[in-house]
Subunit: 196 residues, 4 copies
């Protein structure tokens, strides 16, 4: 009789250990040995759950962006421009803690950007968020809250790109807390005026 193991749970354990190891050592000093140790299993065991280090990394990033999508989508449809701007603000601020993971992300997955499948995975996440924004925009136009000249589809994708730019610069270049707050404030004011 084989040992009873929750495969899903084990994969999660390992992915969690991978995250911790990546954050602690950076991706390139995170050997399979270290990840195994962090997960409390043997090196060989890793290969029972993930085909290769690459597969593990891909699974890891997929999990990461899934959570991100969920986080944004769960915010529900905005009922007014103010509430929409509010949502954008939350996106910028909610993720602040995660910002520290951004450099680790690039350190970890920078090399994966040469892989089209990898990029498509992330693109897909951003597309979904962009579409979510687009839906919000459409609703708000219907309500007469937004400028009618707007192309909702393009703008949805633009918005998430812009916010991502701000978040990235925050995470990567670590401006001071107050500087960042001014940037958030200023960018939201700009977007609000632009959207009316």
């Amino acid at each position: 009789m084989p040992k009873i193991v929750d495969k899903k749970q084990m994969r999660q354990n390992i992915l969690q250990a991978a995250l911790q190891t990546f954050v602690k050592y950076g991706f390139h000093n995170s050997t399979m040995a270290k990840i195994a140790k962090e997960a409390g299993v043997a090196k060989g065991t890793l290969y029972l759950y993930f085909e290769s280090k690459e597969a593990l990394s891909i699974a890891f990033v997929q999990g990461y962006f899934s959570k991100l999508e969920a986080l944004i989508s769960q915010q529900g449809m905005a009922y007014s421009l103010d509430s929409f701007i509010n949502q954008l603000q939350k996106t910028l601020l909610v993720n602040r803690e995660q910002a520290n993971f951004i450099p680790v992300f690039f350190e970890t997955f920078g090399p994966s950007f040469k892989d089209k499948a990898f990029r498509d995975t992330i693109a897909y996440s951003f597309d979904k968020i962009g579409i979510f924004y687009t839906q919000n925009i459409i609703e708000l136009i219907k309500k007469g809250e937004l400028n009618e000249d707007i192309n909702p589809h393009a703008l949805g994708r633009v918005l998430i790109s812009m916010l991502d730019g701000i978040l990235l610069h925050y995470g990567l270049f670590s401006p001071s807390q107050s500087e960042y707050e001014k940037m958030v404030e200023e960018s939201l004011a700009l977007l609000k005026r632009g959207l009316v």
Copy 2:
């Protein structure tokens, strides 16, 4: 007398070869051997011009961002909101060709993001561009072309972050030409309305 060599030129040759090798193989498959071969010199020669692979990489990225800064700064001060928006557009479009380098950039320098010195190098470039935008904004406020509520300092930095976000998504996720054009158009319209 030993061979007479233009050291500056040789460094440039090597950096150029590095770029080509990075693009061809990706950074992590770009061994010093391959770079040397691409440059048409022996492995050891690389070490006469760069202390290590890391040093070569750093020099490479510094060169890259220097050119970027120069490109943007040379645009001169804007005399009207329209001309400023025009500049931003150029920045988004001028760099389109370079966009193909963005995934290579992350593949190449992703791992370098764990290095504070490296990040500071890039941050410095963006800060300079942000300041350049800030100066433009100040001038345009004086001329009464822009909304007086604006905080020029924060907004300058916000603008480059936002544009960078758009460029990054363009380079990384390769939307179609027409999609991207719509995104540029829409984002500039948004910014213009927001700035007035």
Copy 3:
């Protein structure tokens, strides 16, 4: 369960292979690859047992001198001048076979002499032998067999230095068998007369 290995035994195997490789090729032509081949394992395996080539070398020399110390110390306390001289003779003659290792030793560890830790390791071995001789001398003085003017502490250390000099010259410069025997005979006679 992974392969079951006697780690101690494996270390010994590797050290033995190192010795053979050193003798065959000389230390500086003894690459880790050659040692691995001699040991019948892969290069990487060496690094499971020794952190670096240097660590392997240090372990090797420590093992060598441990055996030397043991060999001399096991001789037990001398009960008369003659028996002491006899011990010294054994030291000079017992080690004759090992003498062939002396040039290899210098070839191997010459470069290690710049390392204080390394020298201290050897110094410690000789000090212990010196102390052992000192104890013998003290006993023999008590018995009235030796000259009372002797400083036993200094003389113990002197004796091992002198014997080492003779052994070194034997090992390094390979006088003929008969020449060496005469040297041993003459040196022991000299020492005996000097000790009375």
Copy 4:
């Protein structure tokens, strides 16, 4: 017309530079580049005066031991046991400053010990010193100062070996000044009693 260069002088300069470089960096960090720099010439120039690094090293050690021989031989024939012991003492003490070079010597030439030619060079030096001692011993026997049972030939070679042992241990293991003085004193007393 070729430049007028004193080849001999240039060789000496280079050997001197080699010595300084060896002492400063140890042999294995003394690259031809460093030696050249120390000598104030270009790397290529070294090869005009010495065929290879090995040749340079061999020439260096030959020079070193020639001086050593000269130093000892110039002491002249001893006229009494006391004066002979005095000579030995000088040998032990004169060389004290040079003792610091002993670890460098092994670091430098350790690897050369696998080379028979190299060892023969040194052996030859010691043989000559041994013969010099033998001559002294013969003279002193004739004068009735020494024990008649002595085999002068063997003893000459033994003496230099013993003294070398003491010097080596001094240079390598750096006992304190006072410890060494006691060792010298004790060894000379021992030898004197043994020689009578």
